[in-house]
């Protein structure tokens, strides 16, 4: 059961981050040329691979109790960021993530930047693609490493991330446009719930407490996080409606 959650979480989190990275790479490629941008993508992928290969085995030698405490705490803090933003978006307190708008903004900025050649590369295009893939990819690497090491299966988490990479890159190459129709906000909400659920589960075990029902308690934690998130969204939506009704109409 936890293996299925592990692969699904790694897949969803990776897919969301890769859709965002794809938007940036597309903007860099279209406005600055594909050669520099794709070399930037390759360089960032290499750095990410080094991070995973270097840190993956190192994490597996840490005692499982300490690992679950540290990883659980990190995942919980990290996951709460995702969940909080998702709740604010779902309740209308924060703008929804819009890949088309982000692509247009990136395209305009990249198109107006001065051309500086270094080593035969358009430096802006290279840097934009490199940073985009590296920063979005670091979140994927973080999730793959933490989920994988705590469950004792980094390859399984990496498989979920690789499936997302193949899917997003394949669709991206096919449509050559930002993947605006991907239900990104819903996916972010789901990832926030899963990160928070795993964070609560592992940090509790790492702190020395025991779950009633052992691993099956994960389903209970998941249901609890889903229910409270839904209640929070409903509460905030109601508050938003009340504030709009109470707000004086401007002449």
């Amino acid at each position: 059961m936890t293996a299925a959650f592990l692969v699904l979480s790694a897949f969803l989190a990776s897919a969301v981050e890769m859709v965002e990275a794809l938007t940036i790479v597309l903007a860099a490629g279209v406005s600055r040329g594909w050669r520099s941008s794709l070399i930037g993508v390759g360089a960032a992928t290499l750095v990410l691979a080094v991070v995973v290969v270097a840190l993956g085995p190192a994490l597996t030698v840490i005692p499982i109790g300490a690992l679950r405490l540290v990883v659980g705490a990190l995942l919980l803090v990290f996951g709460l960021q995702w969940l909080r933003k998702a709740i604010l978006r779902a309740s209308g307190f924060k703008a929804l993530h819009d890949e088309d708008a982000i692509f247009a903004a990136e395209l305009a900025e990249a198109g107006s930047a001065e051309r500086v050649e270094r080593g035969g590369l358009d430096w802006y295009g290279f840097t934009l693609a490199f940073k985009g893939v590296l920063l979005e990819g670091l979140e994927v690497a973080f999730i793959v490493l933490t989920f994988g090491s705590t469950q004792g299966s980094i390859p399984l988490a990496a498989a979920g991330a690789t499936a997302a990479l193949v899917l997003v890159a394949g669709v991206g190459i096919a449509v050559r446009a930002p993947l605006a129709r991907v239900p990104e906000n819903t996916m972010k909400f789901t990832v926030g719930i899963m990160l928070t659920t795993f964070g609560i589960f592992w940090a509790t075990e790492g702190a020395g407490a025991h779950w009633p029902g052992a691993d099956t308690a994960l389903l209970g934690v998941l249901a609890f996080v889903c229910a409270t998130s839904a209640l929070l969204v409903a509460h905030l939506r109601a508050r938003k409606r009340r504030s709009l009704v109470a707000a004086p109409v401007q002449p």
């Binding site: 803090v77 979140e139 973080f142 702190a207 020395g208 407490a209 996080v225 409270t228 929070l232």
Partner: protein, 65 residues
């Protein structure tokens, strides 16, 4: 020095984000769980409740500011 600071700021933003109080609240909830478990009391309920409380306070801060 400025690169070191930028590196530190990047990791702070990456893990903690824009609400350090939420991270501090989670740290407190984990410490309370560990204290209860060490005292031999069933402590599995502490972190789910603590997390929801932290989340509620965090979104309330975000929506009232």
């Amino acid at each position: 020095m400025s690169r070191l600071r930028a590196f530190g700021r990047f990791w702070w933003n990456f893990v903690i984000g824009d609400d350090w109080l939420a991270a501090a609240g989670i740290a407190l909830a984990i410490a309370a769980t560990a204290a209860l478990a060490a005292a031999g009391v069933a402590a599995w309920w502490m972190l789910p409740l603590g997390t929801v409380l932290v989340l509620y306070l965090s979104v309330r801060r975000a929506t009232t500011n």
